[in-house]
Amino acid sequence: MIRVIGGGVMGLAVAAELSGRGRAVTVIDRERQAGPHHCSWWAGGMLAPDCEGETAEEPVVRLGRAAADWWAGQGARVIRRGTLVLALDRDRAELARFARRVPGAPLEAEGIAALEPDLAGQARRGLHVAGEAHLDPRATLAGLRARLAAQGVVFETGEARPGPGDIDCRGLAARDALPDLRGVRGEMVVLRLRDLDITRPVRLLHPRHPLYIVPRGQGLYMLGATQIESEGRGPATARAVLELLSAAYALHPAFGAAEVLEIGADARPAFADNLPRIRRRGGVIHVNGLFRHGFLLAPAMARMVADRLCDGITPEVCDEDHG
């Protein structure tokens, strides 16, 4: 029986991968279900390796390519409509900079209107990054958990410190074992707006307040993008919320009439290079540092953990493998 400590996106992905290879798995988490104590609960759910390549390094882009298929294979509702990247007229330079790094089809007003009719007449320049996808993180976590339970994965509730043979997927809570982990804070807002139908994630480039909007269906939209070098997990600041809402309003004035359903904040675990790691130390396999790429990288990380455990293959992102 392999114990996986932590039932957020990383823990569940590892459990799924091991269970899929016929291993008996127990997942131990502080709570009875996926929820706000997991930072993946607050995620955007964009499976957008190319767009992330704007700032992320090559491994993130490459490893992230497998994510959409993996999640679909686990029964998640993966929506493959690509990403629409937009900039308002005065921020054209941001779009040029983005397009230099991210492959995509340049769009003018008509192209934008063809992809997202409800955004017609708003931004006049953009980029369509096809081949990207998105999912609903909360529905996905709950769905995967139920699926694993049905496959025979055991879920236990409680605090556990990882010991030899265990897989540590505790995220930021693993700092007791991984002191080089740091928290990077993010804030998000959930809006409901029934009279605007946006069907794919939209990234609005801005020199000060970049924004992404991820549709969650039934008029729900998740707004995010703040990234602050802080470990704080306290409530979102007025300033962060103002920035997110103003950017959404700038994208389409209809957002002014949206209902604010939720405001959230949490800290994501990251190493100094913002790249994920597998570290095998004292018999424990630590998987951590997925930063802002939890749903994007968890599949590839889970596969590498399973490869290490089942076949003894040393993973590419492994920086320590002893004991």
Binding site: E57, R185, S230, E231, G234
Partner: protein, 255 residues
């Protein structure tokens, strides 16, 4: 060597620490450029908690820290932030920013002088982020500042030296005051130009952090800054209309 508030610093390049793809790339930019001073923003990173781990990484760069009051829109806010920064970073150095205009992030001259006076009296070594305005510069020096940080252009625009005449006369007016061109530079050539004009150092953030390869860009700027400074110290020729061959004409037929 350049001296700010009796402290000698080997490099004439200062780097901001925001907006890099990762702290590891930030560290690499410092390593490759040899930048001697890092500005850190207390306000942004402290939001709702502490930036402990990030600051630890910045401290480990082994360079002198210059905390700033970025994002402050009043003298009061800036003074409070400066005092917090002194506690957190253990330095009396403060880069004083009091923003007066939301769109251009232009400094508020009145708030700047007010905050500078209060902070200098409180024992701070103030590095005021200012425009090229001579009167404002004079008032900041009167308030007790012994360094000035005039802008090249508004923060983050990459426009370079927007008012060369103003910067040149500021430099000429206060030849003894160390001056750092802060903000608005986008290209190494612009930094070289600032150095050729006799400024003592350059502070960059966006141009490096948002480059496709930040560490390489930091090195590019470092070399440009050195080139510009060497040019300034070596004494540059004045442009002239008459062509003057570098090989003597004597002995050649000229009729």
């Amino acid at each position: 060597m350049v001296t700010f508030y009796d402290t000698e610093v080997a490099s004439r390049l200062m780097l901001g620490t925001a907006q890099y793809p990762s702290p590891a790339i930030l560290a690499e930019a410092f390593r490759r450029s040899g930048a001697g001073i890092a500005t850190v923003s207390l306000r942004r990173e402290a939001a709702g908690g502490d930036g402990g781990a990030f600051w630890e990484l910045v401290r480990r760069l082994g360079v002198r820290l210059l905390p700033n009051t970025a994002g402050c829109h009043s003298a009061r806010e800036a003074v409070t932030t400066a005092r917090m920064a002194r506690e957190v970073f253990g330095t009396s150095w403060i880069k004083l920013e009091v923003i007066g205009h939301a769109d251009t992030l232009q400094p508020d001259p009145w708030g700047l002088v007010e905050a500078a006076r209060e902070l200098c009296a409180d024992g701070f070594d103030v590095f005021p982020y200012t425009t090229e305005d001579l009167v404002l510069a004079e008032k900041l020096l009167d308030a007790g500042c012994r360094v000035l940080m005039p802008w090249g252009a508004p923060i983050g625009t990459g426009l370079g030296l927007a008012n060369r005449y103003g910067l040149r006369s500021l430099r000429a007016q206060f030849p003894e005051v160390p001056m750092v061109v802060d903000a608005g530079l986008g290209r190494p050539s612009q930094a070289a130009e600032a150095m050729e004009m006799g400024f003592d150092a350059v502070l960059l953030n966006t141009a490096v952090a948002k480059a496709c390869d930040p560490a390489m860009m930091a090195e590019g700027f470092a070399r440009a800054i050195e080139a510009g400074r060497l040019g300034y110290e070596a004494g540059m020729m004045e442009p002239r209309d008459m062509a003057a061959p570098s090989t003597p004409l004597i002995g050649k037929a000229f009729l």
